[in-house]
Amino acid sequence: MIEWFTWTQVAVASLAGALCVILGLVGRKPNDLTIGSLALVELLLIAQVVVGVVAPFVGNRPSGSLLEFWVYLVSAALLPIAAAGWALVERSRWSTVILGVAALAVAVMVARMWQIWTVQGA
């Protein structure tokens, strides 16, 4: 993993999460802004998938479990898609909150992925 890119993802996902939770709680239905923020999170995760594939071949090897890393990454990449799908099916304020919760979960998972990638020893 690339450190600055990791923390960029955590920051973007946290901001998107806070934005969606707040807008949802004040009663906004899912809109272009909130769905768009999740789309940005997803885009970064797809880039992370590419980074995850390429990194070990260019000398950027994980010291932790690669399998565990991929389980987290694939799970994280599914969340924005599932939440956005839900938001399109059910247009209520709670769907906006759900978008936010999904983004916050992605932020936590990306931070965990960094720990897994860089873990020291067994």
Binding site: R28, K29, P30, N31, D32, L33, S65, L67, E68, V71, Y72, S75, L78, L79, A83, W86, E90, R91, S92, W94, S95, V97, I98, V101, A102, A105, V108, M109, Q115, V119, A122
Partner: protein
Amino acid sequence: MADAMTPSSHAHAPARNTRISGVGRLLVVVYGILALAATGRTAVQIIERFDQAPVAFTLSGLSALVYIVATISLVARGSAWYRVAWAAISFELIGVLVIGTITLVAPDLLGAGTGSPFGRTSTVWTVYGAGYLFVPLVLPILGLWYLAKHRPAPVPLDDAA
């Protein structure tokens, strides 16, 4: 501004035909995420290093299953599923309290290193779910509260949709 794009009929037809509505859907989503997280982690632990802490990993697997059952039972309708939801969520609360206490008081009882919430052998329930921001501790309480507030209607509504 976004409401301009929403068909006006939606705003006046609140969907109340399922047991789960409003904030309950949020609960289901958080359960779903936790089920996904617990299942993924357990799968890795059991595939890669089951021999390091068999008891802890078996518990992880059990907790993952219970989260999946709880998620389904919250979505499914009917009084039978309602009872399943009660059982699954009560089991979770007991699990997180018992395992949380064991891992806090006797960190190595379930295997070396199982007392660390961020360790390679920890479970979802280790130290009351500290590795998952204590969500596993708070969620069953919210779940039981939600179930108590939303008993299934004695006469089922005609909601084949």
